[in-house]
């Protein structure tokens, strides 16, 4: 090795160390201080909080017998069978998991056809639609609630439409269905983006080879395409399950307290400063999520779908004139388009309409004028729209620049294989599996209040702290996009580069990342989305008056009563947020499409 090569050799280990340092400071340490409350009592280890939660039928239903009276379980089982096996309750955790499972099914059902259309068909505006699919992901829950109420409410748009054709009315809001549809609205974009990316990287030559060897189109699809998209689909399903398992504000805004999740209780315990029970509940939530994550990663590592190096499958035109009506697949897709329009566009368009509608139903521009008034205001404590937009964009860009390398580094480490790498990746995916309330509380206790070291109290809050916190929340998305693609790479390209004298870093940058560029790009879009939509940590760390973001400003406008007690100002700001993020995603995809590592 020539001496001049050492920086390149040191680059990867240094990147790993840097990544770990960031995550440790803004994630592991803060969260550990909260989780410690679950197992520590005056400095001594204790299992009491954990056992009291597990042994509480309210939280765990019939499972609580295992912890309260394990010896009596067999007799209890027999008695239950004798009674004719009546339905049993699984408590708050059981209901939360049930709700998350339904939400996951709905998100996959809504996302998969969308991914298929985007990956396999050509139509005008395809690229733009693809970029915009991620927009619902960043909407604050209060606005989703507003949009859903206006769309699906008793006097909503849907019931108006149904009434016009002599149907309805349907009662959707304040039911489990409403929560499930809202969760699908939030998470189907995950399915669409992840699966479409995987689908586009299917090598057409493999399909053609299979066909040339006599496989039917269906056979070729099952043997080549399905294995290639399965990891992405399962990743999306897993993430959706974890997110909806941890779902909080939307559950009470569209369902009601009777449909509460565990996270509702975590929040209530934090409010009451009963941190021990809050931490215990959150620990159990996180355990459930991480165990699922680990099982999934073990499964994924056994999948070997070669991707990326070939040419994508050719796309078919979506509309073929009158012949469209004779194509059953295209007719089915038209049906899907109607459903997607109701679920995605319905709430978004309703939200836009709300922003120009006065309480009495007349057209008004008052809410946009309100934004201008706020912009012109000099009063302390006023959240002005323009700085909010700029801050969001700066933080989003900063997060992207930080989270993409972090996510790629973790993906490289994860795909190295070796003993314990699944476990390591699981632990490194933890930011996905910890409730936002707990992360916020941890950041408050450690960074905002400060940590005492060597007689000094160190505090950190402000723009850089916000970006670091966002990056910690966002990098797992990059990893989840990039790791499967890297893992499926044909290693011959990398080996060839290495044998021609490229350093490991050079081979990674020039060969591997080029081959998985679409996945890196999708990860970057997610990183930006996470940053723009983040609220809990931002509102704590953007302490002071001038580093608020769009969601924080929006929250301020929710509490603003200057135009009466309505959400008009918030919906106007929400429209701005939608426009800004929509344009950003299109820009990221367009610029990223030309990006050459």
């Amino acid at each position: 090795m020539a001496p001049s090569r050492w920086p390149e050799r040191a680059a990867l280990p240094a990147a790993v160390a840097g990544t770990l340092a960031v995550i440790a400071v803004v994630f592991y340490y803060p969260v550990a201080t909260v989780f410690a409350e679950a197992v520590l009592d005056a400095g001594r280890l204790t299992l009491d909080p954990l056992l009291s939660v597990l042994g509480d039928p309210f939280y765990t239903g019939v499972v609580h017998h295992l912890f309260v009276d394990p010896a009596g379980v067999p007799a209890g089982l027999l008695a239950w069978v004798d009674a004719g096996a009546p339905p049993v309750e699984f408590g708050l955790f059981g209901f939360t998991a049930y709700q998350a499972a339904l939400s996951t099914l709905a998100s996959v059902a809504l996302g998969l056809p969308g991914a298929y259309v985007l990956a396999r068909y050509d139509f005008r505006g395809r690229e733009t639609v693809r970029s915009l699919t991620i927009v619902p992901f960043v909407l604050p829950s209060i606005l989703v609630a507003v949009g859903f109420l206006a769309m699906f409410g008793q006097t909503g748009v849907l019931n108006d439409l149904l009434g016009a054709v002599g149907l309805g009315p349907v009662e959707v809001v304040f039911t489990l269905e409403a929560i499930v549809i809202a969760h699908a609205f939030y998470n189907a974009p995950l399915v669409i983006r992840l699966v479409a990316t995987a689908w586009e990287s299917v090598d057409r030559r493999q399909v053609e080879t299979a066909r040339a060897m006599g496989a039917s189109p269906l056979r070729a699809f099952l043997d080549v395409v399905v294995p290639a998209i399965r990891p992405a689909l399962l990743t999306a399903a897993l993430l959706t399950f974890v997110f909806t398992f941890l779902s909080f504000p939307i559950v009470l805004a569209l369902g009601g307290l009777e449909l509460a999740t565990v996270e509702v209780w975590v929040f209530a315990r934090v409010q009451a400063l009963d941190l021990s029970e809050a931490a215990t509940l959150a620990t159990l939530e996180t355990l459930v999520s991480l165990v699922l994550m680990y099982l999934y990663l073990r499964y994924e590592s056994r999948q070997r779908a070669t991707t990326g190096a070939g040419q994508p499958l050719p796309r078919k035109p979506l509309a073929t004139g009158w012949a469209t009506l004779r194509s059953p697949v295209r007719l089915a897709l038209a049906g899907y388009a109607v459903v997607a329009a109701v679920v995605f566009l319905g709430p978004l368009v309703s939200l836009l309409l709300e922003s120009v509608t006065a309480p009495d139903g007349s057209f008004t521009t008052a809410y946009y004028e309100f934004l201008l008034t706020q912009q012109a205001s000099t009063a302390a404590g006023t959240a002005r729209p323009l700085p909010a937009v700029l801050n969001s964009l700066v933080y989003g860009a900063g997060t992207l620049l930080l989270a993409v390398p972090m996510g790629v580094v973790v993906a490289v480490v994860a795909t190295r294989g070796g003993r314990g790498s699944r476990l390591a990746e699981t632990v490194l995916s933890a930011p996905l599996a910890v409730s936002g309330i707990v992360v916020g509380l941890g950041l408050l206790q450690t960074m905002v209040f400060g940590t005492v070291l060597f007689g000094y109290r160190l505090t950190a809050a402000g723009p850089v702290a916000v970006v670091f916190a966002h990056a910690a929340a966002a990098y797992p998305f990059v990893t989840r996009n990039v790791a499967p693609a890297l893992g499926g790479l044909d290693s011959r390209y990398h080996d060839a580069a290495r044998s021609l004298g490229a350093s490991r870093l050079r081979a990674l940058l020039d060969v591997d990342l080029r081959l998985v560029a679409t996945a890196v790009l999708a990860g970057a879009a997610f990183a930006f989305a996470i940053s723009v939509g983040e609220f809990d940590s931002t509102v704590l760390l953007a302490e002071g008056t001038d580093s608020y973001t769009m969601p924080v400003a929006l929250e301020r406008y929710v509490g603003n009563r200057s135009l009466g007690p309505n959400l008009g100002p918030a919906t106007a700001m929400g429209t701005v947020l939608l426009a800004v993020t929509g344009l950003s995603f299109v820009a990221i995809d367009r610029l990223g499409g030309r990006w050459e590592p």
Partner: protein, 373 residues
């Protein structure tokens, strides 16, 4: 926030300043030596100001008290006009009073002199969670103490002093429904699916409504009452704004809200959907109070500000801008406000002593019962 001002002065070019990182010697925290207290506040003699008031007063409060056109902004400019040497700075922690309880617990400095917007349950929680007092006594040192409406006084220790109050009531649509006379009426078929309220675990009006039912049905009867209420289709949403928004979207003909509802709309508006209903001829009083932090190094200036807030003209302004009722008997209110803001014939409220040791258990038992249904 002197730390931040200093950093700005030190040139915000460096990364540490940009990140808002700061290191302060821990001995610097001006924590007074712990005093023997009995959960209450130690009575210190009245503090006086030598010469003209000057310096910075750091007021912690909730979000919507500050900003364009709010009571907070009005008070800041009026106070600074009156005392040119003083600057009022607001800080709005997202988790309210809890921020300071937790700061005190972890030994972090309290970066504020007084808190505006303390509820009775905040006070109860602060005393339950802390060994030392978070707030100091103020009432006996105020010139305007005698003008405060007696039934708004929530703190037996005189630390938290009311500056306005809301009354929780029903807001209903008179074209769809008649106002329920009693709590039992709400269980009738006529009121099936008719009421939207808020989650008492996270919402002030939601908690007030729950406490009101506890007052009416007793500690032993309220859970059964709620069983029947849930049976009859009450909807419990997370917070006041989503609940009110659902009501305005005609999801139900009644919502738990404030008796000042009509003030937002004015006498000329169509008030069909803004009728105020007082169940059993009552409303639940939810006084908002202000209290000085025990760790303040500006006790006299903070006291001056409290007296200032209680002046008749400022009380009128605070009430109208906050759309709440004033806390003093001699507030100067506009005629329109007095006409549109409805006061209940009788006010119900739980005192500090009644909530102490109970409010958490009541709320948790209630929430479990609702979810279990």
């Amino acid at each position: 926030m002197r730390r931040r001002t200093f950093l700005r002065a030190a040139g915000a070019g460096s990364l540490a300043a940009l990140a808002g990182c700061a290191a302060t010697p821990t001995g610097d925290g001006t924590t007074p030596p712990p005093e023997e207290t009995t959960g209450g506040a130690t009575r210190t003699p009245r503090e006086t100001i030598d010469g003209t008031p000057s310096g910075t007063l750091r007021v912690a409060t909730y979000d919507s008290f500050t900003g364009e056109g709010t009571a907070g902004t009005y008070l800041k400019s009026a106070f600074e006009d009156e005392y040119p040497g003083v600057t009022v700075e607001f800080t709005t922690p997202s988790n309210g009073v809890n921020q300071y309880i937790q700061r005190k617990q972890s030994g972090a400095p309290i970066d504020a002199d007084l808190y505006v917007g303390v509820n009775t349950d905040d006070l109860v929680r602060a005393d339950e969670r802390l060994d030392d007092a978070l707030f100091m006594h103020s009432r006996d040192h105020l010139d305007r103490a005698d003008t405060i409406k007696p039934d708004l006084e929530i703190d037996p220790e005189g630390r938290a002093v009311p500056y306005d109050t809301g009354y929780i009531s029903l807001v209903y649509d008179e074209s769809a429904i008649e106002a329920p006379e009693t709590f039992d009426d709400l269980l009738e078929p006529a009121y099936e699916d008719a009421l939207i309220t808020q989650n008492a675990q996270q919402s002030d009006p939601g908690q007030a409504f729950l406490l009101w039912t506890i007052d009416a049905k007793g500690e032993d009867g309220y859970l059964d009452y709620w069983d029947s209420l849930v049976e009859n289709g009450v909807t419990i949403l997370d917070d006041w704004q989503p609940a009110y928004n659902a009501y305005m979207n005609e999801e139900a003909p009644m919502v738990v809200s404030y008796s000042t509802d009509q003030v937002f709309y004015g006498a000329d508006a169509d008030l069909t959907r803004h009728q105020v209903g007082f169940i059993e001829g009552e409303g639940y009083a939810n006084p908002e109070t202000m209290a000085r932090f025990a760790d303040t190094d500006q006790p006299a200036l903070a006291r001056l500000f409290m007296d200032f807030v209680l002046q008749p003209d400022h009380q009128g302004q605070v009430a109208e801008r906050n759309v709440q009722f004033p806390a003093v008997t001699d507030a100067q209110l506009g005629e329109t406000f007095s006409e549109l803001a409805k006061e209940p014939p009788e006010a119900v409220t739980f005192t500090y002593d009644q909530l102490q040791g109970n409010v958490d258990e009541w709320t948790d038992a209630w929430a479990r019962r609702v979810v279990g249904n």
